[in-house]
Symmetry: C2
Amino acid sequence: MRALLVVAHGSRREASNEEVRKLCRRIEQEAAGEEFFLVRAGFLELAEPSIVEGIGQCIEAGADQVVVLPYFLSAGRHVSEDIPAEVEKARQRHPHASIVLAPYLGSAPGVAGLLVQLAAGGMRDGDFTE
Amino acid sequence: MRALLVVAHGSRREASNEEVRKLCRRIEQEAAGEEFFLVRAGFLELAEPSIVEGIGQCIEAGADQVVVLPYFLSAGRHVSEDIPAEVEKARQRHPHASIVLAPYLGSAPGVAGLLVQLAAGGMRDGDFTE
């Protein structure tokens, strides 16, 4: 039973946090019963649940493996130090679960193609404002 | 002649800015001669070139259309107000060019699939650290 925790920075603007939670619900629907039985959002700061809490919720829901994916575009201190430190805390709290840290979004090879698609596609459909 | 300007926030950490420039070079290679003849990075603050400068450089290089794509994950003030305001300044400076504002990265429908791919793919390949 594998769960995905998408970790965002967290914002004082609640709509931004909600945008991440909404994305997680969409991933859960799209990936339902395939890769992940559960997809949740977690936040480094300023929003709930925290990373450790989010991992805990996945495990309580029945996950024996939690993949933590940093929803970040660049490999700054948050990605290289802060998130791994939170993941390590969660591992100590849940020694029997497998908690795996995935690469951050910005490092995905598919990002380049997605940007071109977004930049070129909308123009063809004529739904950009000029 | 269409150019793409990928607009990131900009960081005090120069490696993060360079990561965006590197992504742009990769997009340019992948999209070479197809959608965009030129792909450049622009920054809202803390790094060079600015959005207005970046658009200007694309036009100087021969673009008659510049697509400005916010490399942002959430629709905060930067995406909804600051970037459109800079684009408007550039339009006034270059009235004969078409300057188009694309949707921000986080709004791309493909992001969900990319996250699943990133989270599930690496695990299959065994290149995650645990």
